[in-house]
Symmetry: C2
Subunit: 466 residues, 2 copies
């Protein structure tokens, strides 16, 4: 019976005393005169499996010399292990090499820095750290789909290639089939009639506007796909290509939006805690000691909800010297966000009702009866301890006249947005949504502090390997 | 109690005689002297809900005039319906307009052609057809994740931006931040030092090679993401942006690969049949009369497996005039594929062991002892009735010397593929994988014949709306 290590470990009691076949790679290997031990991994499980072999095997002397990362077929019996780090081990009756690894394998047994491992992107998924990170990434992705599926949300594939400019959400990459050594021109301008789409096309920075189309048809939808920013910022938190989840809900005000976002975050964390206990223990031991406590704090507490104006009042009264001075109207900086969530509330906090002037055109204007000189919009950001902002969302402006007036104020080209205004002309409804950066979530759940280490193939300024 | 139509219909018996609140859009509306009927939809369910209102409502005369697609809040009681098309209806006690739709709404009650609806991409998800197609799309996507999650496969996000050329898998889009009106040049060549990634970068045509990296770490992985082809082909089956699923399995030969592919296809179809019965009935009634029979045929039969050489023999003996003459060595055309699967086997057929010369460099060479003059590779295509090829896969060449020799033969630049060869140097194992075009699956399951109608926002030559 051929099994993966995951299958064996999952119900190991069932297999005790049974003969099985396992295939995998040598993680470590040691031997003495007449007995040898191989730690075998196949990557299906965070744990590896101990293989014990004796000199009754005819190729005992060869097996001792098999190099790290060589692939093997093991035939043997499952037995309870006397060791305290494992429940079972395999007593091998036959060990057959599949392919021996060259001895200059770049990941030898010693521990490597994440910086070194980034230079070995095609090997690093084989390490404990990246095996754990990328499995958690996979589980978290599944949790997101499961959450929305259970709620009856429709998964909408919004386009990656877009001809709309997303109104300043970020710098965009252009996509073209023109020959860059000599792009065709007419009157000094690029002649897009020779380009694939007959017009300039870019990579999406957000699927929100298209998700609104889908929400006005299905009520509840979400996107989950790659998103791009051509920002020249070489930080630990920015990548040029990242994945984003954008739910969009019709007949939903900002309060409903926060309810779903809170439930959503808790669901993902609980799912990973339940389904990756070994990986989570590893992170809390080797990556971030406070991790499990922080995550349990998140899932066990009701998130706080305050307005931006209340947040400013709190910050002004804070006995802390901020690098960026606090004044009503400013965009909150990470230091402000972290102070509020870490020092004041010590749990996740929704901040709502931001100044209109610092938020996007599509956000719904509030009444602001009490402070008409300080116009706000129905925006919400979710701040979490250790990171700061992890979700940004808003109720969308669904009133045609208000939206049109605002877009004119902002000198936007209304001609390009007729389809978006059409959604307000024909069956408009209050609707809300938010964006959740998938890598931010993975960093938060694993404690890994650099976005390059939660993306299997990170793309950043000057770096696009493979 | 505010409910979606999906929630009400799912357990309607529970709600009979209860007062509920429903929000949605007017699909149709008619009234006589003292009674009116509104067919209300919120898109959460294929079925709409009948709202009955009488002249006891003070705004009876206004309600009669509400335009199609106006959004409403309905308060009322759930009652069993005397009509035979529905189990329940709502007797309204209060009807409040949210936003009235302008009366020139482009989708009036009459039936529209799919061609017309393509010009109304921001409204077409509101029609029965597209509501059904995009919900099935969402369900099929979930089925795919669920299938692989249950099997312990890791979902790997392979990169969209790539600096490798994918060796002729298809024409590629270039991605750049250079100013196309005047790209910087050095010695007549584009100077990529000024581009975002310091080198030419394109949109991926396949995640396979990177998936191989992940498979050699996790054993079983899959990708599911957007893929791009800049091919100037304006057909009903080609889009420039489409989604693809690419499983990759270590310690797996071509037979295992076919077993998984067969199970996978059946799983998706069964999941959709179980979870979208109304939608499937609609398709089989209005889109493709033979649909359900064809799908049941697929899930209930073991797929046939023949070699390419056997396929050629069958085609040569066929009493059919093919447009493309049949000879050992040719690439099978759709007419050949459909003949085999529709006329001969009348069910899905795997064709294996194609001529080496017509397949990609990475496919594993066969022994070919019986016919050394006809070298073949361990490739497999799955052909299905009504469509032809729906899956293409292969065992990968894992022998370093064989792969290197072949790449040299093909005059490939080995320098660019050192990482790929490294996978064979350090712990190589037999491995296999396949690619499944997601839109092809959706077309197959829904009977919809144009790829533009299974993509919410299709991108094709000269067309990139939004």
């Amino acid at each position: 019976m051929k099994l993966t290590i995951r299958e064996v470990l999952k119900e190991y009691k069932k297999f005790i005393d049974q003969d099985i076949v396992i295939e995998g790679w040598i993680k470590t290997s040691r031997s003495s005169k007449n007995i040898g031990f191989i730690e075998l991994t196949d990557g299906t499980s965070f744990s590896s499996l101990q293989i014990v072999y004796g000199d009754d095997l005819e190729n005992f002397k060869d097996i001792e010399k098999y190099t790290i990362s060589s692939s093997l077929t093991i035939e043997g019996k499952v037995v309870e292990s006397p060791g305290k780090n494992q429940d079972i081990e395999i007593h091998a009756t036959k060990i057959t090499p599949i392919c021996l690894s060259q001895s200059d394998y770049p990941l030898q047994k010693k521990r490597h820095t994440v910086e070194y491992l980034r230079t070995q992107a095609h090997f690093r998924p084989r390490t404990n750290l990246f095996n754990a990170v990328f499995r958690v990434r996979s589980l978290a992705a599944f949790a997101i789909h499961k959450f929305f599926n259970e709620k009856g949300f429709v998964y909408a594939h919004t386009p990656i290639l877009t001809s709309s400019d997303a109104e300043g959400a970020g710098e965009m990459f252009q996509v073209t089939t023109l020959d860059l050594t000599d792009p065709p021109k007419t009157d000094g301008c690029v002649d897009y009639r020779e380009d694939f789409f007959d017009k300039p096309v870019h990579l999406t920075v957000s699927g929100q506007l298209e998700a609104e189309i889908m929400a006005e048809a299905f009520t509840n939808v979400y996107t989950f796909g790659p998103t791009f920013r051509a920002e020249n910022s070489n930080t630990a938190r920015h990548a040029a290509e990242f994945w984003m989840i954008e739910p969009e809900m019709a007949f939903a005000d900002i309060k409903v939006c926060m309810d779903i976002a809170e439930e959503h975050i808790k669901y993902i964390i609980n799912y990973v805690l339940d389904n990756a206990p070994e990986e989570m223990e590893f992170f809390s031991k080797f990556v971030d000691k406070g991790l499990l406590e922080r995550l349990h704090n998140v899932v066990n507490n009701e998130f706080a909800r305050i307005t931006y104006t209340e947040a400013i009042d709190i910050l002004k009264e804070a006995k802390v010297e901020f690098a960026y001075p606090v004044e009503w109207g400013i965009d909150l900086q990470t230091e402000h966000e972290r102070y509020i969530t870490e020092q004041v509330f010590k749990k996740p906090v929704f901040v709502t009702d931001y100044p209109k002037a610092i938020k996007a055109f599509y956000m719904k204007g509030n009444d602001d009866k009490d402070a008409p000189d300080r116009p706000t919009v129905a925006a919400m950001d979710l701040l979490v301890p250790g990171v700061g902002e992890i979700i940004g969302g808003s109720q969308r402006e669904h009133r045609l006249d208000v939206l049109e007036a605002k877009m004119k104020d902002l000198k936007m080209d209304l001609e390009n947005y007729q389809w978006y205004l059409d959604l307000r002309r024909y069956g408009s409804v209050p609707h809300s949504g938010y964006g959740l950066g998938f890598e931010r979530v993975i960093m938060y759940i694993t404690g890994v502090s650099n976005i390059r280490d939660v993306l299997p193939f990170p793309r950043t300024v000057g770096s696009c390997e493979f």
